[in-house]
Amino acid sequence: MKKVTNFNISDAWYGRLLSLPGITFVFLLIVLPVIFLIVLSFLRYNFVSPVAFVGFKNYSNIFSDRLLTHALKTTGIYTFGVTGISLIFALTISYGLHRLGQRRFSTLFRTLAILPFAVPLVLSGLIWRWLLDPAIGVMNYLFIQITPFSEPINIFGNSTTALLGVILADAWIKIPFMTIFILAAMDGINQNLYEAAAIDGATPVTKFLHITLPLSRNGIIYGILITAMFSFRTIDAIWSMTRGGPGKATYHIGIYILDRMLSLMDLGQAAVIGIIVFVCISCFSAAMIAWMKRD
């Protein structure tokens, strides 16, 4: 008897039928803009003068712009700061939760650990702007109480500290985000290993360094990769706190793109910066993935 199927097509065609429409749509939505991004970088495209091919003029303009080096430097410090602070806290929190295992309050603690991630990043910027405010900010008040300083710090009035302010607001959201990845990796570690190590006389520090860290290595690297990638291409917290100021102290490359695109309406030059971000992130990701694969 012939088997009844609603389509008389092969399994391979059934697979194509299920998957190709969505993939085509999303590739159109991604690949076409990527191509158009490259094309735009060779065009004069500013909604005022007619569109024209200008060769490498946008590239030479951007590469000779002092703001590019400044924005890259700012972005580098920002990315490093956010990732570093998040990593230290996320490692500590994950290790604590991992040690607790299924003990009392572990479910509650796990929820508390990721709660700040509920706050939209742009709102985190606003909250931290308020906490750090020199006239009414709670953090400033605590700072005066705890440290010998008697004057509140106007963190966004000073170009060296302003960057620290935006980093704090972003790191606050990235700590729980990174904790999710690192904790998931640590949860995969067999608890018996710790007991075996304890019998051999391992101290808590050696257990952390020789069991926990190496066995959750890929989760940690992945957390670093994705957090660094997100902070390299962000605008949210900076937009709501300083918009790149004071002066250009927090001039992240994302703000640089938005300035060229929305204020100057120069899509050609914005596209060049967009390509620079793309190249930086690709190189960084490739390096991190290579590190993950190396054993």
Binding site: I23, I30, P120, L121, L126, I257, I281
Partner: protein
Amino acid sequence: MSATKRVSGTFNRILESYLTVYIGLGVIFVVLLSPLVLMLFTAFKTPAETEMWPPTIVPLDVDFEAFADVIFNSKIPKTIVNSLVISLSTVAIVVVAATFTAYGLSRYKYRGSRVLSYSLLATRIIPPISLTIPFFAIFAWLGLVNKKLTLIILNVYLNYPIVTWLLIDAFNRFPNQLIDSARIDGATRNQTFFFVVLPLTVTAIAAGAIITFLFTWNEFLYALTFTQTEAAMPLTVGIFEFVGDEVVEWTRLCAVGVFASLPSIVFFIFAQRYVVQGLTAGAIKE
């Protein structure tokens, strides 16, 4: 020698103790969660109280004016509706499309399907901020600026690859024997998919739906670039109604903040497993 040994022994015993872990985590959580608590408290303060020095923590008088004002006298309710429409539409499209795509890629392999799966994952490297520029040109040309549809399309682009990858992983782990025995019992491929596979992978699908909702609800870059008026503006941009160049209305802002964080907090409390599953899919083993 024995003295130093005793000191390090005590030190190790303290490190080893669970009490230390509880205290350490407790201290970190107080620091980590205090901004959230302060935001909640400040939403119930009077505007005058937010100007006081030293700043108050708990409201002196509980005042609902900020909430009332945000709900009845601002464009915030409209932007919340916009955020809901955009997020829920994105979730619906992403979940349906990604489920079909992932099942096709995972179960009915064809030439190139492996490459397609990996290239979907690779699209995550493309920075959304770089694509803002071509999108800006394209959507201006199509006249699709300041429309909710634009944000739905863009959020689908942001989430579809992640969710597809999550579901490929879930379908790959689905036991083959179940599918084979259903087919032997005479079920068609479609019946097997809808009545055998889907009910058993529903947790992964829920995880995909939840992370899509969270990412879309919190999305800011495209919302800022593509909306100008409250017709399409989502909450993440609408928040700036209370942020002036000089003065920020902190009580109202905190009230909006409570609304903006609420859906995610609810998910974290009641569906934490799904959030974690959704975010870590494809992260550990790749």
